[in-house]
Symmetry: C2
Subunit: 431 residues, 2 copies
Amino acid sequence: MQMEERGKIARDAGILLAATNGEMRNEGLKAIAKALEANQDAIIAANQTDMKRSQDENLGAPLLKRLTFDAVKINDVIQGIYSLMELTDPLGATKLSTQLDEGLDLYKVTCPIGVIGVIFESRPDAFVQISTLCLKSGNSVLLKGGREALETNRILAKIIHDATVSVGLPVNWIQNLETREDVTAMLALDQYIDLIIPRGSNSFVKYIMTHSNIPVMGHADGICHIYVHDDADLTQAIDIIVDSKTQYVAACNTLETLLVNENIAQKLLPALKTALDAKNVQLKGDTATQAIIPVEPATEEDWKTEYLDYILSIRIVPDLNTAITHINTYGSGHTDVILTTAEAMAKTFMTLVDSAGVFWNCSTRFSDGFRFGFGAEVGISTSKLHARGPVGLDGLLSYKYKLLGHGQLVADYASGKSQFTHVTQNTNCPI
Amino acid sequence: MQMEERGKIARDAGILLAATNGEMRNEGLKAIAKALEANQDAIIAANQTDMKRSQDENLGAPLLKRLTFDAVKINDVIQGIYSLMELTDPLGATKLSTQLDEGLDLYKVTCPIGVIGVIFESRPDAFVQISTLCLKSGNSVLLKGGREALETNRILAKIIHDATVSVGLPVNWIQNLETREDVTAMLALDQYIDLIIPRGSNSFVKYIMTHSNIPVMGHADGICHIYVHDDADLTQAIDIIVDSKTQYVAACNTLETLLVNENIAQKLLPALKTALDAKNVQLKGDTATQAIIPVEPATEEDWKTEYLDYILSIRIVPDLNTAITHINTYGSGHTDVILTTAEAMAKTFMTLVDSAGVFWNCSTRFSDGFRFGFGAEVGISTSKLHARGPVGLDGLLSYKYKLLGHGQLVADYASGKSQFTHVTQNTNCPI
């Protein structure tokens, strides 16, 4: 089938999915969980085909590990589906209710976005997580996973589709794409697809953004900072810096640049170096840092770099404002932290730093949908439109305005015959 | 100054503006109102220069009328500023508060988007309305008005800038662009500009969307429908159709296509034709319509056309589902109405029609920020991301996550030493 036709049937399915109630979508989720359990052997066999081919192609060990979809991982995604079922139905929630006039009531009600195109890395568990998030939120989804997981994703798509159709959900709400040509064609389907979510490297996300008119939700970079003010608790500061840099070095919420107030640098840096040496973190620093501890020189390029590795760049700054300007100049608007005992300093930092996450006295690594309590995470957005920061089910919602009248005409309000009351109400939309 | 530099200083001003409190921004609004009043003569003189040049260039009468900025219109925008001052400060509102653990509290807090680029039609009143909405919501703004209003916009920009700077607001938060080259350069400044709002024709909005990586908020089309179900009140139906088509024919929320259930067509159409003839509305219809009343034939192209004129296309449909499919196929997702006495029919229509506004028994023309009670309107969005439908101040907001901790590390939660509590709270962010 041509991609244009696939986009159209995805849209048709999305319209029907938007009209299903939460119980029916939960029935679908349950059917998926049961089908994954029942078909576990076939899924593992398909995954072993992918693993064998990838080993033959000399795929690296970390990627092979991500590609693995065994009984343990299958059980994890099944448990994830049961957790998702417990979340409140995100659709049909009244966000605003206003009486415009007697018998003319306006309601702003949540609804699905429509059709979402997701392009993601090789992990087969992501295939299940993304598709079940879309089902819970009533969105059709076109998924393109990594080439390495071809067989695994193919069988997962069939199992998920068939399980949900068997309980009465619309056909074709989930479709599996298998080629790069399909992705290229999908990026042009702005008449059918409402949102593209690319997951992968920065350059990949930027490529998608510049090659489609469809809105894109993704993060372009994660250059996270910690600024240590001169009144910070030293022991706490070292613990937080070590956690932020080393707890999981390849994540987008990992610390990349440390800014240290010049009044505390002499006390902090030697002890910090000892702690980071123990974790094999390579340090780079500006001239002032080099005068205190032995580090490689940091260049302008370092301030703009997301290392995703055991490397940390350090700059000594004279004051809070210089730290804020550094972050707003070189940062990526992801997550930035101030360590200080002064609430006024924290407040200034959190107001002026233009980032999705502004934290006080804790690790950058808390910037995450699960840790934030969103139950499920679509991704982390560094855009300031629609969704910012860790994105839960909310990021997959739009809304519509329902206006319930009794024959009212605008001409009567224009002439002054009728007047708007504009009374805010606390009622849910009755239909 | 080069556009890149202007983008950078706009961003710097936006950072400072985000940190101002609501009282200070209201002081700025008041200063603008007073300065407009004090400089009324100079504004009118500048406008007369624009009017004179435009008359010499044979600008059409409707455009000349829009260009006029006289004492009455100046007073209107001043009153609009006082109304805007009365609205609650949209910034710093806590939208979500969650205790992640004892002493680790997460707050989702509204903040400005940052820098907004607005490209708009010739009306000078729009210059004042847009810039004051941006100030109220703490956003920097780059405005490019119509070439015809060059002198008027130039003096308005200076008055607004100087009045606000005099009360302590940051310099350069508002900048006036005067050339097409500036607009072209602005569309490339995705590192400094967060949102583009184009106001104008469909083709213009689409041009902007395809020529910038910056998110665009605008509506591409307003092809609005009314579906008359077979149980509709006939007199009410005719009144609503006439209001929707003729109350203001050039607006995007005006009715363009009427869908009539076949069971009511024989009764409705002759009486409707009489009512629309009285308003000089030209009718087009499908074959079934032509069999009942004398109308020009409607083609496939008519279903896709936003006339913005005294023209209405009519199609007779066998049932509700055909009407819904027609709307979802040919509509633009703006505003669509069902006329029926049956709540179940209204519910199905309002759930399945994928539009920003889905109305029951009232005019399409209610789709408007002022009529919805939003106090001020940025525009109407047919996108499903960020803002949909009439957009008030809310559409100019983003949010950030503030996390207030006491030294917490992610490693302790990963190891199981600490557990998340994830308790929803009802508290405002204390800083």
